[in-house]
């Protein structure tokens, strides 16, 4: 299974809740830009979904693809 992650940067306000909830997936780079892989493995699905849920602007879309 693949877990796809898409962040809508028109909506993201850099609250950083995703970085706090899933630091292995989301991080701010040296310029303060949010960085994340577009795909993660099964083992990271739950963390990615927590980050999606916690995002105050609902900018993160996580989909599980079999």
């Amino acid at each position: 299974m693949t877990v796809r992650i898409v962040v809508d940067f028109d909506v993201c306000e850099q609250h950083g809740q995703c970085v706090e909830a899933a630091p292995a997936i989301f991080r701010f780079d040296d310029e303060g830009q949010l960085q994340h892989p577009s795909e993660v493995g099964d083992e990271s699905a739950a963390d990615a979904e927590d980050a999606q849920f916690l995002c105050p602007t609902q900018a993160i879309m996580v989909t599980r693809e079999p």
Binding site: E49, D50, F53, L54, P56, T57, Q58, T63
Partner: protein
């Protein structure tokens, strides 16, 4: 008389199936509906825009009216929701405290116990013969699950259910007996206070333990703790009942669906999403324009009420291919707006999704047959254009391995 009239007049056919009304509303675009003195927003993209712009569109009138400001001289002010009617930054700060208890991974830990509760209730149906799947199942499960997840002891669930029903009823009922409301609120507040006082200091998956920890950390006052529990009860009860009931109605009335889900259980989650999309338990909420604005090219003067229709967005053919139909292969299945969008998106969405899936799985597992005794067009729905769901689902069910009721003793 406008397109919205049948809904506002609570025409039973329109309330049961508002798709035709929504289609007209989307065609017309954003417009002012005098029946509810609000601008109606029915297209998907417009709905998302309003929900994402909490600065311009305040949530203080979400349920249609603005609550009077708290009276400081009243020692027992009515419980008011902590989240539903607040705006940022207050809303974000409160939400960040209680959010932690409701993340998908925290909620997922409850699955075995929720399944056990669902099995208990479904198995009981076997003894009843003819059942009402709202009264005998959909209305019973959510309060049991909320009690479980909160950490309310099983022995208190009956009392808790009674309070929950009275508090829920008092929310929209301006003419209710204020003395009775105060009595219920006092009893409920004392009870929640007692549970908070008894907290042993450990934080676990039970939501009350997390609320108690927030209180100890000085993030929530006692009154806010009680208000939050009340809000969870009101928000998660009838909505989940309606969601479960609508799912069962779809299961019982869509040819071949039961067999298809049985043959591929991975389709249950997409089915739950489609049930939420097509039969969103909350069809729409209000917002209040805090400044002159524009939605879909239509000017919205400051101070206007805006009625945002999630149920219509969920049927917008611009977003949903083949939108009137239940399909289990949608790539964007979970992108519906049944839980809203933006800062106020439903805090209990993970719990509702889990509960919705588990109930369907248990029904598929336990039921030999499910026969609805009314055709969908005859089912009675709650007389509301905000809340959406059947109030009764007469059915005959047979559990696997059981003897049909009419054959007993023959």
């Amino acid at each position: 008389m406008t397109a919205l009239s049948p809904l506002v007049e609570l025409d039973p056919d329109a309330v049961r199936d508002p798709a035709g009304v929504y289609e007209q509303l989307r065609e017309r675009g954003v417009h002012h509906a005098p029946e509810i003195d609000a601008f109606v927003v029915a297209r998907h993209d417009d709905v998302v825009r309003v929900l994402r712009d909490g600065r311009t569109f305040s949530s203080r009138n979400t349920v249609g009216r603005v609550l009077p400001p708290a009276d400081p001289s009243n020692p027992r002010p009515p419980l008011s929701p902590l989240l539903l009617l607040s705006d940022d930054p207050e809303h974000a700060q409160r939400r960040s405290i209680v959010n932690r208890a409701f993340t998908p991974s925290k909620i997922a830990a409850w699955e075995p116990q929720i399944r056990q509760v669902a099995e208990e209730h479904v198995d009981r149906l076997g003894d009843l013969g003819e059942v009402d799947l709202v009264r005998d199942l959909a209305a019973l499960l959510p309060i049991r699950v909320v009690s479980l997840v909160l950490g309310v002891p099983l022995r208190d669930v009956t009392r808790f259910r009674e309070w929950s029903e009275e508090i829920t009823a008092s929310v929209g009922n301006h003419g209710g007996d204020p003395v009775r409301r105060e009595q219920v609120q006092d009893a409920f507040s004392s009870y929640i206070s007692l549970l908070l006082d008894q907290w042993d200091g450990t934080v676990d998956a039970r939501v009350l333990s997390q609320i108690a920890a927030a209180e100890r950390a000085g993030e929530l006052t006692r009154t806010q703790c009680v208000s939050f529990v009340a809000e969870l009860l009101v928000a998660g009860n009838i909505t989940t009942t309606h969601h479960i009931a609508s799912s069962i109605a779809l299961l019982g009335s869509t040819p071949g669906l039961l067999d298809r889900l049985r043959s591929d259980p991975r389709l249950v989650q997409p089915f739950v999403e489609e049930s939420l999309r097509l039969e969103a338990p909350i069809q729409g909420f209000y917002r209040l324009a805090m400044a002159d604005a524009e939605i879909g090219g239509v000017p919205i003067p400051e101070g206007s009420r805006v009625f945002v229709l999630y149920g219509s967005a969920n049927r917008d053919p611009q977003v949903w291919e083949d939108c009137p139909h239940l399909r289990l292969d949608r790539p964007n299945a979970a992108a519906h707006l049944a839980f809203g969008k933006g800062a106020h998106a439903c805090i209990g969405s993970s719990l509702a999704r889990l509960e919705g899936r588990v109930v369907v799985e248990v029904l598929l597992d336990r039921l030999e047959t499910l026969e609805l005794l009314a055709v969908p067009a005859d089912l009675p729905y709650l007389a509301s254009f905000v809340n959406h769901g059947p109030v009764s689902l007469p059915a005959r069910v047979r559990l696997r391995g059981s003897v049909p009721a009419q054959e007993v003793g023959s």
